[in-house]
């Protein structure tokens, strides 16, 4: 028996396009081509398979009226009870701290402006990714270095009213800094006199009051000398044949604009930064990815569709909104729905002033009114025609 040619398989399978999702078509094509190499497939069999796929897909489609929102919320909320509360070290990179488990999931859903542990994974362009030196160099370049990081010792001399920093020679070398460079940065940014005495810097405040000196001292210590704002710790790691830079702290915009960086793959876990830099669709994908990562790491199996729905709901208005009273729930159309969630009285009182009208289109409103809810079997109505004469009602 002779099987059909790969081309026939391709044309036959592509007839499915538009009827079933692309991913299924793609998978079927791949699987059929693979099988056809090992054994002959007849045209009849292909038709049967295609029919089978069509049938399987149709029977798996959601029913209209299905309460997909509630199911999604339950599917993400229920495993929450099984998650850990602790912050553990990252499985891959032992040097970085990561928020995991329930706290991280809540953080994502809350759409916090800054995650409690911001992280970036920076992929480099081919030229830099293959060489350890170049990756290291880049890492050094972006790591934020403050005066305190290179100081061996700092003291405030109250008699002469100066702030003295003793610099650490080896650390300076590693960061490619010289005392004069540091001195000039301090001079330029803080507008003060700086005296250089070998590896000692003497900084004199403009006014000689004690409080002024103290203020100056803290400002000098935190003064950035080089690196990218926000990037506090950098680790270079070999991953799949290339060097990848992991950072603690995140500054998506500045990192992406650096020439060494592969913009297509570099990510941060700060969803708001992604929204600002790449837009709402990217933010939506970031929410999905972060949530999936968090759940998977805990070994919890949650269907992707649920997470996508939550992410889409959070992003539906064009900006990332929190799941809660300052976001999705607080902006509902229904007064009763808002009142029954949180801050009951304020919503009711304000509704009167604004002359709002609750159309009772949602779920809670109808539960409150004791009416059938517009979901599932409640979203359809049946009219019985009596006696087969096409009745009046």
């Amino acid at each position: 028996m002779v099987g059909v040619s790969p081309d026939t398989i391709k044309t036959e399978v592509s007839k499915l396009e538009g009827e079933v999702p692309e991913s299924v078509v793609h998978e079927l094509r791949g699987a059929l081509l693979r099988v056809s190499k090992e054994r002959a497939i007849t045209r009849e069999q292909i038709e049967q398979i295609i029919e089978g796929v069509k049938q399987a897909y149709t029977s798996a489609i959601v029913e209209p009226g299905e309460a997909v929102g509630t199911i999604a919320a339950q599917s993400i909320g229920e495993p929450g009870t099984q998650m850990t509360l602790r912050t553990f070290h990252y499985a891959g990179v032992a040097e970085l701290n990561v928020t995991l488990g329930l706290p991280r999931l809540i953080e994502i859903i809350d759409a916090r402006k800054t995650p409690s542990a911001a992280l970036m994974t920076i992929y480099l362009k081919e030229k830099f990714a293959k060489s350890k030196e170049k990756a290291r160099e880049f890492a050094h370049k972006i790591e934020l270095t403050t005066v305190e990081d290179v100081a061996l010792q700092t003291e405030t001399d109250l008699i002469n009213m100066v702030f003295i920093i003793t610099l650490d020679r080896s650390r300076m070398q590693r960061k490619e800094l010289t005392p004069s460079k540091i001195a000039s940065t301090i001079k330029d940014t803080l507008n003060t006199d700086v005296g250089i005495d070998g590896y000692k810097l003497r900084i004199k405040p403009s006014t000689t009051t004690l409080s002024e000196l103290r203020k100056l001292a803290t400002r000098v210590r935190a003064l950035p000398l080089r690196g990218v704002k926000g990037i506090t710790r950098v680790v270079v790691k070999m991953e799949d044949d290339e060097y990848v830079v992991h950072t603690e702290g995140s500054n998506f915009l500045e990192i992406l604009s650096m020439p060494e960086v592969d913009q297509t793959r570099t990510v941060t876990n700060n969803i708001h930064e992604i929204e600002e830099v790449l837009g709402i669709e990217a933010a939506r994908n970031a929410i999905v990815n972060e949530a999936v990562k968090t759940l998977e790491e805990q070994g919890l199996n949650v269907d992707l569709r649920h997470i996508m729905l939550v992410a889409d709901m959070m992003c539906a208005s064009g900006e990332v909104r929190q799941v809660g009273r300052h976001g999705v729930s607080g902006e509902k159309a229904s007064v009763l729905a808002r009142a029954s969630f949180e801050i009951t009285t304020k919503h009711l009182l304000d509704a009167c002033i604004h002359g709002e009208s609750d159309k009772l289109d949602g779920i809670i409103e109808n539960v409150i009114a004791g009416q059938p809810i517009p979901l599932g079997t409640g979203s359809v109505e049946l009219v019985m025609r009596r006696g087969g004469e096409g009745g009046t009602k």
């Binding site: 079927l28 699987a31 399987a56 040097e95 809540i106 992707l304 996508m308 729905l309 002359g355």
Partner: protein
């Protein structure tokens, strides 16, 4: 005839004007008292019978109805002086600041051009059905900053707001009358700019001149056992208001000094404020004589037990029961055992027809006390007969089509079964009733995972759907067998647990041979009749069957699957059918040809290959039957072969003990060496870590490794002939970690992911030296549970254990709130007929649900279509 119920189409919110209040009112309330000496309500008092009645026997003077039927009617109090409504102080403050202080002007303090711009914005917002009032915050903010009116040139004094209800302009205090006057001066066309809809609200209505008095039905008084009347908190508050209101009127009448009038006015404001909301900041809450804080209007609505969340979103229901649950291995997953006592109390209404009249007559005759009886009969006219008191014989004879009999619950009725916390939809499922002796609800062990139930005293609830429509919906949509696949991940959440797994393993493992008697005995336990296949072996005239043969009899015909069992050790090269631990499962045409049945095959929440395939290919009914049968068979097998575990399952030979203690001693040495290196300052820090952190990480690493080595030494002596090991390896219960902790070494205790470090200054316990970083001093337990922990180890173990308990408590609270927020945000979403997901306004959230329109519960573990399976089915494996 069934009444067509009225449906609420929409609810409009608006502000009540004083005229509305007076129009609504049936009487003006002037007396601060409630009842006279005879216990009769005082005319024009707070309990006036025109406001409705709550005491039995009295009739409402407004509508003439009795208590229970009269919905109640509002009265009102004429306030002597106006009073600010606390709920609107913020809005009032905004209005005052944004408008001109000049009485003749009263316009918003922005140029006409700017106002026009804002008007346009608001118009657009209304057109687009956005929340137009959100624009007003912006207007108020910019107008409040203006110092000179652009319309009349009047200089604007700053108005300060003092919580809760005081406004101060420059140095003068604005009385509510002043405020009201200002608000009256605001031009109607300016109102939308201030967030007020002129169609339903006037700003001056936010300052009250007449106060509605709610009907008595809203604030019923209760009579205590001693006969003392106790009034509702609202009544108390209203008494206060009327009293002060009167005193204020009298004082003004008598021409009392300004100061006294002012004070009384302020007191009236206080009482009205706390009447609305007794939780506003800035003033002490009003208290009852006993010192208890009063629960006034806002408190009634607010919070978890408030009207909204406590009574409107969730309601108490009839036809429900609650009791302890206990297991019954013999009932189906679709069933629930209901005690007869409960079955006699819960009823289902049945309409009498010609076909069931005789049966129902008997049911009525038996009455309330004899089991398959009934509790009530309702005649065609709607008259209700209570069978406890009625003449049952007479009633039974009177029965005719059209009557309704409320009969006891009986076998086969559909009820809803629920266990809190109801975290997902599988927390409420429909079961078929089995009336059983005893006093507990009985459920099949296989449905424990979805309910998360165990039998250490758990209680569960039963609800009886009353209408045929509800019963049909419940049995089609909510029946247990329809819920086998979880919508969370598209795999089974109902399946075998614990002994079901070990039993199946014992039966199907290699070398299980059964005589005809044994085989028949096992199959008989399933409760069905089977013809035994050909025996697998014949020895000295005795026929033997393998366990796999017996198990296969329950499998559906034509079932083909191949997978690796849980016990699989993931060898580098799989020997497939030749696997020496029989971990390669092959089922061909419904025959288990090789491999053992364990957790991978049908354990709930596991990968569940066999059950999963049966539900998806053969339907839920076949799956339910399979699960019911297989669990019974497994239990019978476990009983037949005998299965137990005890402390000697953790016995390991002395040489193993020796090797384990060597490993641990070695690890301790390495730890002390690390500490020496650290103290000498020679430790190489990991990038980005301090020396101390590096040391801790290295020590943890060494100790964890030693525990693992100790465990694997012990594991070598714990084979699959050991019952505890069978449970762990087949995935029935427990893990190898549990076993090695019992047999070899418990390992490091930790708090917050670090070794124990707190307790005393620089040490965990006074038994150690300061700064001792050694293994024992920081909570490493080298004993095994079986050997027992020494007192220090025991204490460390308790520290680690305590953290676990605290964690669980915190976690449940946090995840509960997260879920509430998720549900609230997403509950209005549904799939429409066009495949989109939309919210309650019809806004599209997703164009196609999940990007492929597939229901996760019907998907193949998340995938839309299992292509491989279809190809295999058509072409053959």
């Amino acid at each position: 005839m069934m009444r067509i119920p009225k449906l609420i189409d929409s609810i409009d919110f608006c502000l009540m004007s004083p005229e509305d209040t007076r129009k609504l009112s049936v009487t003006k309330i002037i007396a601060a008292d409630t009842y006279d000496e005879d216990g009769y309500p005082i005319e024009r008092g707070l309990m006036d019978t025109r406001l409705g009645v709550v005491d039995p026997g009295l009739r409402c003077r407004t509508c003439g109805a009795r208590a229970g039927e009269c919905p109640g009617h509002f009265g009102h109090i004429e306030l002597t002086r106006p009073v600010i409504h606390v709920g609107y102080v913020e809005t009032i403050y905004g209005c005052l600041r944004a408008t001109c202080r000049n009485k003749k002007c009263g316009k918003i303090l922005l140029s006409e051009q700017k106002l026009e711009e804002f008007r346009k914005q608001i118009e657009d917002a209304i057109k687009e059905r956005r929340k137009w009032w959100e624009i007003s915050t912006q207007i108020v903010r910019s107008a409040a900053a203006v110092e000179k009116c652009p319309h009349c040139g009047e200089k604007q004094l700053t108005i300060k707001f003092e919580k809760p209800t005081t406004f101060i302009e420059g140095k003068n205090r604005l009385t509510p009358s002043d405020v009201r006057e200002r608000l009256e001066n605001i031009k109607e066309e300016d109102l939308p700019l201030l967030g007020i809809d002129p169609k339903v609200a006037k700003p001056e209505w936010m300052v009250l001149t007449a106060l509605p008095v709610p009907p008595v039905t809203v604030r019923p008084s209760i009579t205590l056992e001693s006969g003392v009347r106790s009034e509702d908190d609202l009544t108390h508050k209203l008494v206060d208001i009327i009293r002060i209101n009167q005193r204020l009127a009298e004082n003004i009448e008598a021409g009392a000094p300004h100061l006294i009038v002012e004070d009384l006015w302020e007191l009236l404001q206080y009482h009205v404020t706390t009447y609305f909301d007794n939780g506003v900041s800035g003033i002490p809450p009003a208290r009852h004589r006993s010192g208890r804080v009063l629960r006034t209007l806002a408190q009634r609505l607010r919070g978890k037990e408030g009207r909204f969340r406590g009574n409107l979103s969730g309601k108490r229901v009839d036809f429900s029961a609650r009791t302890v649950v206990s297991p019954d291995p013999n009932i189906s997953i679709n069933e629930i055992g209901v005690p007869e006592y409960v079955a006699r109390t819960l009823t289902i209404p049945v309409r009498v027809t010609e076909h069931n009249i005789e049966e129902l007559r008997n049911v009525v005759r038996r009455g309330t006390d004899i089991y398959p009886g009934s509790n009530n009969v309702i005649s065609s006219e709607g008259k209700r007969y209570d069978l406890r008191y009625a003449d049952r014989e007479e009633l039974a004879n009177k029965l005719e089509p059209g009557f309704i009999v409320e009969r006891h619950l009986k076998d086969g009725d559909i009820v809803l079964f629920n266990r809190q916390p109801s975290l997902h939809r599988m927390s409420i499922m429909a079961h078929e009733v089995r009336v059983l002796p005893g006093r507990t609800f009985r459920l099949s062990l296989s449905v424990c995972p979805p309910y998360n139930a165990d039998f250490d005293g758990d209680e569960m609830n039963v609800h009886v759907p009353q209408s045929e429509e509800a019963q049909a919906e419940a049995s089609i949509l909510m029946r247990v067998q329809e819920q086998i696949l979880s919508p969370r991940f598209g795999g089974p959440i109902i399946g075998g647990i614990q002994d079901h797994i070990t039993g199946a393993y014992l039966l199907t493992r290699k070398g299980t041979l059964l005589t005809r008697e044994q085989a028949q005995q096992l199959l008989a336990s399933v409760g069905k009749f089977f013809d035994l296949p050909k025996p697998a072996k014949r020895e000295r005239g005795v026929e033997y069957w393998t366990g796999k043969q017996i198990f296969s009899m329950l499998l559906p015909k034509k079932l083909n699957i191949t997978f690796k069992a849980k016990i699989c050790k993931n060898c580098a090269r799989c020997k497939e059918e030749e696997c020496e631990i029989d971990a390669y499962v092959v089922i061909r045409d419904g025959q288990l040809q090789s491999g053992v049945v364990d957790a991978r095959s049908y354990k709930a929440l596991d990968r569940c290959e066999i059950l999963d395939r049966i539900v998806k290919d053969y339907g839920t009914t076949v799956a339910r039957e399979f699960l019911d049968d297989v669990t019974k068979l497994s239990i019978a097998a476990a009983v037949m072969f005998g299965f137990t575990t005890s402390i000697d399952d953790e016995d390991i030979p002395p040489e193993a003990k020796e090797r384990i203690s060597e490993v641990i001693e070695d690890a301790k040495d390495r730890v002390s060496k690390l500490i020496e290196v650290y103290n000498a300052g020679e430790l190489e820090p990991l990038p980005g870590r301090s020396l101390r952190e590096t040391l801790e990480m290295r020590i943890m690493e060494v100790l964890a490794e030693s525990r693992d080595t100790a465990g694997s030494i012990a594991e070598k002596y714990l084979g699959l002939d050991n019952h505890a090991v069978i449970m762990a390896r087949t995935g029935a219960r427990g893990s190898m970690l549990n076993l090695t902790q019992m047999a070899a070494c418990v390992g490091q205790q930790s708090v917050r992911g670090e070794r124990l470090s707190r307790g005393y200054r620089k040490r965990t316990l006074p038994h150690y030296k300061h700064e001792d970083l050694g293994a024992e001093a920081r909570g490493f337990i080298s004993s095994s549970y079986k050997d027992g922990l020494n007192p220090l180890e025991f204490f460390f173990h308790a520290m680690g254990g305590r953290e676990g308990l605290v964690d669980t408590a915190v976690r449940t609270a946090q995840s509960g709130y997260m879920q509430r927020r998720l549900i609230n945000a997403l509950q209005d979403l549904r799939v429409e007929y066009d495949g989109t997901v939309r919210d309650d306004r019809g806004a599209i959230i997703q164009f196609k649900y999940g990007e492929d329109g597939v229901d996760p519960a019907r998907s193949d573990n998340g995938k839309a279509v299992n292509v491989e399976k279809i190809i295999e089915r058509v072409i053959g494996g």
